[in-house]
């Protein structure tokens, strides 16, 4: 493959960070940045030929998918609690900056889905800017994703960003750091979907390379509306580390290539929905020579936890409470807890809203930050038994089961209806025997 030529895009200033103003001399970033492809007489490797005799240790924090100002999903609390929760996402970002400050990392990579497009408020942007200003000695790279595409009407394009913050645009960019023998390569989403993989030009030379981008890591031939990143293509780039964003579940894998590229999704640093339970982390990366090591560090302000407690055999709400305490004994109580009451419930056991509120109160008294109880129990009716009964209960069960067969897509709702009907019929009847 012929070598690509690079175009010199600007000197001494960085993309959107300039924001129309003449920037001061940038102390962090090198004076030359290249875009792919171009017809510049310079070459990627040529740009990286300075000061490489000793490979310095480089550190970074890699995060993504914070979704600041995104409306809450599946929130179970009150409106006001929800607003407090939104503040906690900011708090999490502050904690990330605290960590960067504490660890004195060389780079901070934010691999997209950071500032929610079409919703992010000015105060949030200001908050982010203020936080970023706290770490002027850390070069910050933001690779906007499908939730915050780098469009002309996005906050990235319209706001002024600190000098040490580089926001990638739609085309691949390479930012060399000769003093560190590192080149950061990245790109951004410019739309809500990007279905085609666009490969960066092949990279050669001795510089250590880190890729920062938002996308879906796929196997060859697979597709995705969110910038599919084929593993084989990624392997060809021979990067030391690929900082990805998009998948909220943390994961990493080492590619089988010469560089042993480490591809990593840091996961969302703060839970965005009830699937993202437990500890939420960012990645603290270290590159010594060409060896990359990562460590996951919890940063969440408050975790989401889901616990199911089997209330079978509980006759009273006090017994249910006891079962809950037993089921949550190992849990950090400073969390948002969804407590699902599961199992076969005694028909006489009331788990209606009043009881659930009482239980939630008791749990709060016991130190739980926020608890929402969900009744997923099924009344302990023996459907086999009723199905065989000659009376109306038997008839009802048979009809409901028939309907569930006919409308399988409504199974959950119909099952609920079945138990409601049985409860209506039987729970209030005095049974003599």
């Amino acid at each position: 493959m012929p070598r690509q030529k690079w175009k010199k895009c600007c000197s001494g200033s960085l993309g959107f960070a300039e924001n129309g103003r003449k920037s001061r001399k940038n102390l962090l970033f090198p004076r030359i940045i290249y875009l792919f492809p171009s017809d510049s007489p310079h070459h990627w490797s040529a740009a990286c030929e300075r000061g490489r005799s000793i490979l310095k240790t480089v550190t970074w924090i890699h995060t993504a998918d914070l979704h600041l100002d995104e409306p809450l999903k599946g929130w179970k609390g009150t409106r006001e609690e929800g607003w407090r929760r939104m503040e906690e996402y900011r708090e999490t970002f502050r904690r990330i900056i605290d960590l960067a400050e504490e660890k004195r990392v060389t780079f901070l990579f934010i691999a997209g889905d950071f500032l929610e497009y079409g919703a992010v408020s000015k105060s949030t942007v200001r908050f982010v800017q203020n936080q970023l200003n706290r770490i002027p000695s850390t070069a910050v790279f933001i690779a906007p994703g499908n939730h915050d595409p780098c469009r002309p009407d996005s906050a990235y394009a319209l706001e002024s960003w600190p000098e040490h913050v580089h926001i990638f645009k739609g085309e691949w960019e390479a930012v060399p750091f000769p003093d560190w023998n590192v080149t950061i390569v990245g790109r951004a989403f410019t739309d809500l979907e990007e279905r085609n993989w666009i490969a960066p030009p092949p990279v050669s030379g001795e510089e250590r390379k880190i890729l920062v981008l938002h996308g879906d890591l796929v196997n060859p031939g697979e597709t995705s509306p969110y910038f599919p990143v084929p593993r084989d293509e990624l392997a060809n780039l021979e990067a030391a580390y690929v900082a990805l964003g998009h998948i909220h579940k943390p994961r990493e894998e080492r590619l089988d290539n010469g560089s042993g590229t480490l591809v990593c999704y840091p996961g969302s640093p703060e839970a965005l929905n009830w699937k993202e339970t437990g500890e939420r982390t960012v990645v603290l990366g270290t590159m010594e020579g060409r060896e990359v090591r990562i460590e996951r560090i919890p940063v969440q302000t408050r975790a989401y936890e889901k616990v199911a407690v089997d209330v079978a055999g509980c006759e009273t709400r006090e017994e249910v409470l006891k079962a809950i305490f037993a089921g949550t004994a190992a849990l950090n109580r400073d969390c948002y807890l969804t407590l699902t009451l599961a199992g076969r419930r005694r028909p006489t056991l009331d788990l209606e809203a009043g009881t659930r509120a009482w239980l939630a109160d008791e749990l709060k008294k016991a130190g739980f930050h926020a608890v929402w109880l969900e009744d997923a129990t099924k009344p302990d009716w023996d459907l086999d038994y009723f199905r065989k009964q000659p009376g109306i209960a038997g008839m009802f069960v048979r009809r409901m089961e028939e309907r569930m067969k006919q409308e399988p897509e409504r199974k959950e709702e119909l099952e609920r209806a079945l138990y409601i009907g049985l409860e209506a019929l039987l729970a209030r009847e005095k049974v003599l025997v």
Binding site: N19, G20, R21, K22, D69, E70, P71, L72, K73, W75, R79, G82, W83, M86, E116, G118, A119, S121, K122, S123, T124, P152, D153, A157, L158, A312, R344, R346, P347, D380, W381, D382, D384, Y385, F386, K388, Q389, P390, G391, I392, A393, M395, F396, R398, R399, M400, R403, E413, L414, R416, A417, I420, G421, A424, L425, L426, R428, V431, L432, V433
Partner: protein
């Protein structure tokens, strides 16, 4: 299926107790609290076990703890029963923790427990599988309790239709389960959630909130869009602004370079101008030096001329005019002093003459004169008053008139008194006359005495028929008539006597009246005479006239007194006035008030004139004397001045002084000129010293030389040929233009930033609102899902109920009809189901052939029908399961009357032919009736 034996090892009160049951009817008669219900419960417990039915997890039935053995020990027992030809023994340990069960086939003598597999609850369901009914179903079908069989009386009080509902439930559902409660509960749950339109319920409220949030979000999103657009514009303007700023800086740099060149050029131009200025300055300095030298020469010449014109005394114009004036004044004063002396002599003479002429008059006191004048005028007035009074007395009336008047007045009073007395007498006479003339007529028919006449006539009239009938009896009315006639005649005589007497008295009174009238006429005439004399009309008027005459007499007396006093006063005043006049007049005339008044007034007038004239003369003299003294003083001062002048100058010759004045003036002019020139010289010297003319001149020459050299060097350079100032102006213009653009961009930016700040405030809540919207949507989804589930439950429950009703009812109806016919002894034969608008129940009445709705039946009949229906259910399910189910009647006839018990027991006996019946009762009625009816039964004693 038949129950043969029950043995409790421990169940409630029963410990190691066995009960044996026979085929057919079993009667268990025992009082309350004897253990009947425990026995029934124990039978069911041993058959179906201690687990709760219908639940998946192994759960204790509610009764388990209630029937723990009273004496402790094992909880459970064994029960033997027969199904078809097979006999079984079911052994159970009911202890919840050590539950155990065993089924033995007694027919074959083997344990068949393992033939029944355990279910998820580890229950083998022996009996359930053998009879295909659950324990609960068996209980519903085969056990009739008081609550289940008849609550007739209680319900009758509350609601009779409830029994009919029960009848319907049994017929249509095959069980006594009230589905309406379930529907009601479902409806309540649905109502709690509410419909989408019910905004007070959770679902409706959430939908309303959602709509509200949608509206708010629409606005917020529009604002956000506007914000983004404005932000883009802001970005564009910011770029433009930065460009303008860059251009501005470049221009500023260029401006400073050109400005330096222009300033250098400007400096050279200034040097050239300075050179010109230095040349002028040099010339000026040279001219000033020359002027000074000329001034020194002119000053010497003036001083010499002044010495030539100098006089012996320097005289000023003021001095000259002052001396001249003093000389003129001196002459004038001397002339005036002469005139003053002459006039003073004249005045002294005039004053002497006046004093001689009016010496006596001038001694007059003006106040006394005025008093005298007043007295004379008063005297004149007194004399006039005396004259008036005298004239008045001469015209006065005679005093005899008053005495005459008083006499007539007394006479008239006397006459009026008499008139009054006579009038009264006449009135009395007239009254009496009137009384006499007013006496009633003697001929009046209605007089009382006429009654006696009528009585006499009536007596005669009565006696006439009596005479014919009984003459003796006729004497009585005749006697009465005679008495009445006598009395009538006597009253008539009396009347006539009185009439004559009144006539005589009347004549006497008339005469008396005429005498009195004559007297009154005479009296009136005499009064008129007196009144005409005094020309008055009444006695009162005459009395007023007398009062007037008395008043006039009093006034006349007072005037006489006044006249006497005036005459005394006049005499005294005349003497005083005469005394005063004699002081100033030699010959005082005879008293005449007018003449004396004129004299006094003339004297006063003369006195005033003389006094005024003398005063004028004296005042003029004083003034003249004063003026003369002043002039003498002035003359002294003038003479003093002239004397001093002469001592100073040696002369008072005005011509000579004038000559000196002219020479003095010339000298003064020269002095002034010299002074001016000297001042000029001083000024020039001061400037010369200060400005250092000679030094400056030298420096000027040196600088001119230096500047000339620098200018010559600059003009040799090529930059000197460019007009840098013009270039600077051009750059300034360009800067102005760029600055203008910069300001415009800045204004645009500021405006946009203002707008953005507002928009930022507005859209700040957008994420929160989006979150809230998501929450509301979740809530709506939750409520809608719950509502759908409830609706499905209700729908399917209704469907199940309908299906059961449509299927079971028709199947059960024939059985029910048979038993109803039996229980009502043929009165109602057939139970019919009608399906118009829902299933309705009716019974066929054979006598009339009509179909009667059960609602029209009596309460007792309905109770019977309910009982019959329970029997038919047992029969119905027995047919379906193939097992003749036993029937347990637990005190269920307690509310039946004897007739109904007989009918029911008849039925029980009939059904006992095929089904084992266990009848529990607390009273002996059932046993007695059974004995009475000759029905066989197996009696079981509990005691």
């Amino acid at each position: 299926m038949k129950l043969e034996r029950v043995k409790f090892r421990g169940f409630g009160r029963w410990t190691e107790r066995e009960f044996v049951f026979g085929d057919g009817l079993n009667l268990i008669e025992a009082p309350n609290e004897a253990g009947k219900s425990t026995l029934l419960q124990g039978i069911l417990a041993l058959w179906f076990g201690p687990k709760k039915e219908g639940v998946q997890t192994r759960t204790k039935a509610e009764w388990v703890d209630r029937y723990l053995p009273w004496n402790g020990g094992d909880y459970g027992g064994e029960i033997e029963y027969r199904i078809s030809d097979k006999r079984y023994r079911l052994i159970r340990q009911l202890d919840w923790k050590q539950e155990a069960e065993q089924l033995v086939d007694l027919t074959e003598g083997k344990d068949i427990t393992q033939e029944f597999a355990q279910d998820s609850r580890k229950d083998r369901l022996f009996l359930e599988r053998q009879i295909q009914l659950s324990g609960e179903s068996f209980r519903r079908i085969a056990v009739l309790t008081p609550g289940a069989a008849a609550e007739g009386k209680k319900e009758k009080k509350n609601n009779e239709s409830r029994m009919i509902e029960r009848l319907k439930r049994l017929l249509f559902q095959g069980e006594d389960l009230d589905v309406r409660q379930a529907f009601k509960w479902l409806e309540e749950r649905l109502s709690e959630i509410g419909t989408p339109r019910a905004s007070t319920k959770p679902l409706g409220a959430a939908l309303v909130r959602k709509e509200q949030l949608e509206r708010e979000l629409e606005q917020l999103r529009a604002k956000y869009q506007q914000y983004v657009e404005e932000k883009q514009r802001h970005h564009y303007f910011l770029t433009q602004f930065c460009k303008a700023e860059e251009e501005q800086k470049e221009l500023e740099q260029s401006f400073y370079t050109i400005k330096q060149k222009a300033e250098e050029q400007q400096r050279m131009e200034i040097l050239q101008k300075e050179l010109q200025h230095l040349a002028v300055e040099r010339r000026a300095l040279e001219e000033m030096i020359r002027q000074r030298e000329e001034l020194v020469e002119a000053l010497d010449l003036l001083k010499k001329e002044k010495e030539v014109h100098q006089p012996p005394h320097l005289i000023t114009y003021a001095e000259y005019y002052e001396v001249a004036e003093k000389l003129r004044h001196k002459n004038s004063l001397e002339q005036q002093l002469k005139e003053d002396a002459y006039r003073l002599e004249q005045l002294d003479r005039s004053i002497e003459e006046m004093k001689e002429r009016f010496g006596r008059l001038l001694g007059m006191e003006e106040t006394e004169a005025l008093d005298a004048l007043h007295r004379v005028k008063e005297l004149k007035r007194i004399h006039e008053r005396i004259g008036e009074l005298k004239g008045h007395f001469e015209n006065g009336e005679a005093g005899g008139r008053l005495a005459d008047l008083e006499q007539d007045l007394s006479k008239l009073e006397e006459l009026q008194k008499q008139e009054k007395e006579w009038h009264q007498a006449k009135m009395q006479v007239d009254v009496k006359l009137a009384e006499w003339t007013a006496q009633p007529s003697a001929l009046s028919l209605f007089r009382p005495e006429n009654a006696w006449l009528a009585g006499a006539a009536a007596g005669v009239a009565l006696s006439l028929p009596l005479l014919w009938w009984n003459p003796l009896l006729a004497l009585l009315p005749l006697a009465g008539a005679a008495a009445a006639g006598w009395y009538w005649w006597k009253r008539g005589e009396e009347e006539r006597r009185l009439r004559r007497k009144r006539l005589e008295e009347s004549e006497s009174l008339k005469r008396e009246a005429r005498v009195l009238a004559d007297r009154l006429s005479e009296n009136e005439r005499r009064q008129n005479t007196v009144l005409e004399k005094w020309k008055v009309k009444s006695l009162a008027e005459l009395a007023r006239m007398q009062a007037d005459l008395l008043e006039r007499e009093r006034q006349k007396e007072a005037l006489l007194q006044e006249l006497r006093q005036l005459k005394e006063l006049a005499a005294k005043s005349v003497e005083e006035s005469r005394g005063w006049l004699e002081r100033f007049l030699d010959d005082v005339p005879q008293f005449d008030a007018a003449l004396w008044a004129e004299l006094v007034e003339s004297l006063i007038s003369q006195f005033r004139r003389a006094k005024t004239e003398l005063k004028h003369l004296q005042m003029e003299r004083v003034l003249r004397e004063k003026e003369r003294k002043e002039r003498e003083e002035q003359l002294f001062r003038v003479q003093d001045f002239l004397k001093r002048w002469e001592q100073r100058t040696g002369t008072t010759d005005l011509e000579r002084i004038r000559h000196w004045l002219e020479r003095s003036e010339m000298v003064r002019k020269l002095e002034m000129k010299i002074h001016e020139e000297e001042n000029k010289l001083v000024e020039l010297d001061r400037r010369r010293e200060k400005e250092q003319w000679e030094e400056k001149l030298r420096e000027c020459k040196e600088k001119m030389l230096e500047n000339t050299k620098a200018v010559e060097e600059w003009s040799k350079k090529p930059v000197s040929r460019v007009d840098w100032k013009a270039r600077l102006s051009e750059v300034e213009l360009e800067m102005e233009r760029v600055n203008h653009r910069w300001r415009e961009q800045k204004e645009n930016l500021d405006r946009l930033e203002g707008s953005l700040i507002k928009l930022e405030e507005w859209i700040e809540d957008l994420p929160k609102k989006e979150t809230e919207y998501a929450l509301v949507q979740d809530e709506i989804q939750k409520w809608q899902s719950e509502r759908r589930a409830l609706e499905v439950a209700r729908e399917e429950l209704e469907g199940a109920y309908r299906e059961l009703k449509e299927n079971l009812g028709p199947q059960l109806a024939p059985h029910a009809s048979r038993w109803i016919s039996r229980v009502t002894r043929g009165r109602y034969r057939e139970l019919l189901l009608q399906s118009g608008g829902g299933l309705e129940i009716g019974v066929f009445v054979p006598e009339t052939g009509e179909l009667r709705p059960v609602e029209q039946l009596s309460q007792g009949t309905i109770d019977q029908m309910v009982f019959a229906l329970r029997l038919s259910l047992v029969q119905f399910y027995s047919e379906h399961t193939g097992v003749h189910l036993p029937l347990f009647l637990d005190d269920c006839f307690v509310h039946f009357d004897e007739w109904r018990i007989r009918a029911a027991l008849e039925l029980v006996a009939e059904i006992a032919e095929h089904h084992q019946v266990v009848l529990f009762t607390c009273q002996s009625r059932e046993r007695e009736i059974l004995d009475d009816m000759g029905l066989s039964y197996h009696s079981i004693l509990l005691a």
